[in-house]
Symmetry: C2
Subunit: 261 residues, 2 copies
């Protein structure tokens, strides 16, 4: 099977113009079919503050009311997405910026829980990824750059977590490609010792994960990320790597990051 690289970046890169420029160069240089999923960074929060739209957080999650959905649509699918696309073209990467509504690439369902109303937040439905259209783009030398918004098919845009989108796309594309999913975050990988940036754990598998959890090597915040990664691997993704965006070329060569297989 042909290789496909799915990369997710978040605020630590998007909010830092110098790091972003460097990342864009590295991403453009990947010589394989590739997809980039980006989060939003601080810009949406800053815009909400400027526009005097109060941001409600419940249990660490942003509630997406109508005014907030408008902001994330403008900032994620407009400003961040189109600037990434323009900058990638300057590095000869034939980027195309999309959100989940475009060509119905990600179909979602508004989250409904009894306890909390998250507002316009969507969860990707089963078979919700339009694999055929993404494949068509990749086969035509086009690189999808995806903003973390989905739709419900009935005219409603929905705010969806970028990590989740990356995970769902990687899993769905695994039917046609050998997918490597790279989650970029602010560390060089999962650290053996949180105080030591060079103590990256090279490999996590379902064999050693329980030990790492039991001896508290993997701290609380990392557990959902790693559980998601293991679940992706169990669903057909070839490998998941957690690492720093600026180590992208080294990650591709297997010389950096934490591999989850």
């Amino acid at each position: 099977m042909q290789q496909l690289i799915v990369v997710k970046i978040g605020g630590n890169i998007i909010d830092d113009a110098v790091a972003l420029e460097s990342f864009i160069e590295k991403f453009a240089a990947i010589d394989a079919p590739k997809i980039l999923i980006h989060g939003g960074g601080k810009l949406a929060t800053e815009m909400a503050t400027t526009l005097h739209i109060p941001q409600q957080m419940i249990e660490g999650r942003r509630i997406t009311d109508e005014a907030t959905l408008k902001i994330v649509t403008m900032v994620y699918a407009g400003f961040i997405n189109k600037n990434l696309v323009a900058k990638l073209h300057a590095k000869t990467c034939n980027a195309i910026g999309l959100c989940g509504a475009d060509a119905n690439i990600i179909l979602a369902k508004k989250r409904t829980t009894k306890e909390i109303d998250y507002g316009f937040v969507g969860d990707v439905i089963a078979d919700g990824i339009n694999v055929n259209f993404l494949k068509l783009l990749l086969e035509n030398n086009t690189t999808p750059i995806i903003a973390p918004l989905t739709h419900n098919g009935n005219g409603q845009l929905l705010n969806t977590n970028a990590d989740t989108i990356a995970n769902e796309i990687a899993k769905a594309m695994s039917t046609h490609y050998q997918v490597q999913l790279i989650y970029c975050f602010d560390k060089k990988g999962v650290l053996q010792n949180i105080a030591d940036e060079n103590s990256v754990i090279k490999l996590i598998t379902k064999e050693n994960i329980e030990t790492l959890k039991a001896n508290k090597t993997i701290h609380e915040g990392m557990i959902p990320k790693i559980d998601n990664a293991l679940q992706a691997v169990a669903s057909g993704v070839y490998k998941v790597v957690l690492g720093h965006a600026l180590d992208l070329n080294k990650i591709m060569k297997g010389e950096a990051g934490t591999v989850i297989k």
Copy 2:
């Protein structure tokens, strides 16, 4: 040659939720390959006011400084574009929202004039339309919805007039399709008598245009629109129609609007 319908809408539809809903239904129902180009309406100006970004107008044209470019990128390519796309999917139109940077569909050059610095305003370059990619989308039952932004290929987004984009796309696509270009505006067509909405001139050709200009039937504001339309026809566009967005179905049947051939 296969038919292609290129429709341009502006503020009078985008700013009116009821009219927009009705237009979306009519556009989705067009049973032929189609492309929609949308302008920005009042939303960008409102956003600039809310964000206290002064808008500089010179000779009726908005100067696009960096802050204004950010606003139009957010509002046009983000909010308006993605909402149009989501709403079209609800009417089973497989819409994909793009700006000119996406897949390099519209390559432009920053306008440089000695007299006025328009800022980040772009003029479409010769052969600047990516005909092959638009054709690929159309052949795969996908309908491009295009926001009035272009790029220079070197990482810079540019603000470009939506009428111009519609014109350039219609001309470029004429090498592969029999293109009908429909400019929607706030009248039922070019009026014989400006006070009478029912005095629509049915046909303008290069044979009767000079008479219509000489006897002042075509008033000042309409002249550039009609000259552009005649130029499009001269460049291979099958026909151009000026009419009201809500008459779209009648226009398609040749029962409304002013045809320029």
